[in-house]
Amino acid sequence: MSPTRRDFLRLAGAGAMLLPGVSMAGMRAALSPQDSKRRLVMIFLDGGNDGLNTLVPSSNDAYYQARPELGLKGKSLIKLNDDFSLHPSLSAWQELYQEGALSMLQAVGYDRPDYSHFVSRDIWHSGKRNMTESSTGWLGSAASRRSSALLPPVALGVAEAPLLLKTATGTGLTVGDMESFYVDRLPQMPEEMNQSGALALIHQASSLAYEASNRLRAVAAKVPEGKHYPDSALADRLKLMARFARADDGPQVMWTRLGGFDTHALQLGAHASLLQQLGEATAAFRNDLAVDGSYQNTMVLIYSEFGRRVAENGSAGTDHGAAGPMFVIGGGARGGLIGKAPSLTDLDQGNLKAGIDFRAVFSECLRDWLGWPPHDLFDGKFADGQASAGLLKA
């Protein structure tokens, strides 16, 4: 049997069976046409974004005391209210904020924070505080419960497969750029036989690659490229995501990363440049989708594995911290500041304490935005999938 004739669902490693405990109401919601139009775009700020210099507590003396060199002040700050301002490089978000299209969740994190990039990143992506070798990603697991021939979540611009998309049987769908997302010619492929472990995983990825390259190219071909994007790798990826998001049969969830946030030294310039890329690219994405109103169906979620230490270090930088803000652009979210502002004086080892657990945010997005049942994806008290961060409009 040629790979092109295989059932796409099986290739995606997505078990079609209903899992115990999935309510029929949940399944109907998951399959309703309205929900299948909804899109979720995730942008991971890799390295630990300095939340305090992104959403700046600009009237708090404790902030300026902790950051004599790095504290942001002056007229260029984008004032949101009496207490908070945005980093000057995020001027592209000012309009979004005024329209209520920008939401900011304050002090998002988790209990007993880990200060390792890699451990913390894996906690955010597995949805579990304690991981094992066989841990999978919460998004990959959520998608594998979906039925029919829907495209699974797609990761853009990754060198290695992210844990977030990993399932027990596959590493997920990834795309570099559409220009190179093809195969010269299908090689001969003998039928798989009793394969397990790494061999089965490679077989699955190769079959998915041959199939998905055709499907995603067809999806992208239907939608022309948007205009007025800045010149950056992130903007290029968002431009492609906008095409996927517009297509009826495109992937519902898209993920990418922006690296470079581990600003231990000489932070001001590097951080400003990263935030400018982020602000301009996401605003262009939003304006692109606003042309036909499809931004109403699209939510952009921006997060990082941790914030940074409240006090600056001696290298004009900041060391690893804990809780930090999450940013949400577009459809469905309430807009404005959400959650309690973190104290800058009641700290845990010099770091902000979390007020909102990231699993509550992801549960809410899956359940109430996409209609994907989130039970059993997260651990501890989040296992029932009922948690909410109060992000979405009632």
Binding site: G47, Q188, M189, A265
Partner: protein, 458 residues
């Protein structure tokens, strides 16, 4: 994964037996193409034409002696001068291509493939350093010291200019220390998560103050050094040198490195009791990495059937392995470009944690790039086969017979062979392939073999 004809070699239950040298004469198992090809893949990146047949005629011990003896005229002395010249251009792809060419030619088990392990372990990125000379200095230190006592390598890396700049050690001053290097030294370089406290990190960062870089070289600046004593792991120390010696004394250090090297050389699931014994013995050998790698690659655990094809090839393993197998003399820049498209650029790991590796190498985007590389090699495109077209490797009389041709290609590319049934279905497909009109059967066969999932395992 093993061909049905191959006898199953079990992993000995007793840890001491698992670490014994594999000796076919003592009945541990066969010394055949299967075992020789396995050893060559892991030790140097793969067999060259004829090498498996030749090494089968020698003893396992004799082959190990050869692999662990540097040649009289070393690769590094031949390539050294061009490395310096390429580093001076400050262009990453040039120095990466140079390293890939060394990898494609290296026959020394403690040479360039081990250096890739250390580059991944002590990751530093070209994009932050932007200095070819410093990247080459780090590479040379990892290549030379990486085969000896880990203590020396760790001292060298803590004082390595590129590393100090990469992890902001060069701006770590008394008063307001920068924790970056101290944290990664514990977490990623020497001990692993869970073997230190946040307080240990803060104290270690203070001990490292004063270590900095001036005019591209390491210096100790007394005025930046915190003169107060520091308490790490309950012991009082003063400076970075004492910190490194203290780290080496921690039991977690040998445990951590033995585990990671096992996963690079033997299997993804090291048995705990074997690791424990190996770590004990490694301590007795002064944490000498040369001893450890030789012990790993000699061991009965290494030659056990479950260890074979248990690892996923990195882009470098895959590209270098193909070039070695076909004796290619490729355009070096194309090798680097191919690896980069598959997700791995030498001198540009994704961050201080190095490459995640394993199953993360395999995903749809990277898989399509792997097939494109195979297609380019088979079709003789992109300069991969400049002086050695594929046809030279295979007897002409076999060109039109799928069965004989497949046997020939498998012998060169995948010496272990395929299971009989899989081999037969592939042969049937090749015989009935409509593509024979547009390409030769030889190219079609080589392409399909390189795209087999089996080919991407090591």
């Amino acid at each position: 994964m093993s061909s049905p004809r191959e006898p199953f070699v079990a992993l000995p239950q007793d840890p001491a037996a698992a670490l014994e040298a594999y000796d076919p004469q003592l009945g541990h198992g066969p010394w055949d193409a299967h075992h020789v090809a396995h050893l060559l893949r892991r030790a140097v990146g793969g067999a060259r034409p004829g090498q498996v047949e030749e090494m089968r005629r020698s003893t396992a011990h004799g082959v190990m002696e050869r692999l662990f003896t540097p040649s009289d005229i070393s690769l590094e002395s031949i390539w050294g001068a061009s490395g310096v010249a390429l580093a001076a251009t400050n262009e990453r792809p040039r120095l990466a291509s140079w390293w890939l060419m060394k990898l494609a030619q290296d026959e020394y088990a403690l040479g360039n493939r081990l250096a890739v392990f250390w580059h991944d372990h002590f990751s530093t990125t070209w994009s932050k350093i932007a200095d070819g000379q410093q990247m080459l200095t780090q590479h040379s230190a990892q290549l030379v010291l990486g085969a000896g006592p880990f203590r020396k390598l760790l001292h060298a890396m803590v004082e390595d200019p590129a590393m100090l700049r990469f992890l902001d050690g060069d701006s770590n001053r008394r008063g307001l220390p920068n924790e970056n290097l101290a944290r990664e030294l514990f977490e990623l370089f020497a001990l692993g998560p869970g073997n230190y406290t946040e307080a240990d990190i803060r104290e270690a960062a203070r001990a490292l103050t004063g270590n900095t870089v001036r005019q591209g070289s390491f210096v100790f600046e007394k005025m930046f050094h915190d003169p107060e004593p520091k308490k790490v792991f309950g012991k009082t120390i003063q400076n970075g040198k004492q910190l490194v010696d203290l780290i080496i004394e921690q039991p977690a250090c040998a445990d951590f490195l033995v585990n990671k090297l096992w996963r690079y050389y033997v299997s993804p699931d090291p048995p705990k009791d074997v690791l424990q014994l190996l770590a004990e013995r490694w301590r007795e050998h002064d944490l000498d990495t040369g001893w450890l790698v030789r012990t790993l690659l000699s061991s009965r655990a290494f030659h056990a059937t479950p260890s074979m094809f248990s690892l996923i090839k990195s882009p470098i393993d895959y590209v270098v392995g193909v070039i070695r197998a076909v004796s290619g003399r490729p355009d070096p820049r194309e090798m680097d470009a191919a690896c980069a498209r598959m997700g791995q650029e030498l001198f540009e790991p994704p961050g201080v944690q190095g490459w995640q590796g394993g199953s993360a190498w395999i995903h749809t985007a990277s898989w399509l790039e792997r097939t494109k590389f195979a297609f380019a090699v088979a079709a003789g495109r992109r300069g991969f086969m400049r002086d050695a077209p594929l046809g030279k490797l295979f007897p002409e009389r076999h060109r039109l017979q799928a069965k004989a041709l497949l046997d020939d290609v498998l012998r060169v590319m995948l010496p272990t062979g395929l299971g009989e049934e899989r081999r037969a279905t592939l042969q049937n497909q090749l015989e009935s392939s409509p593509n024979r009109v547009t390409t030769t059967l030889l190219q079609e066969t080589a392409y399909s073999v390189m795209c087999l999932p089996e080919y991407h395992l090591s």
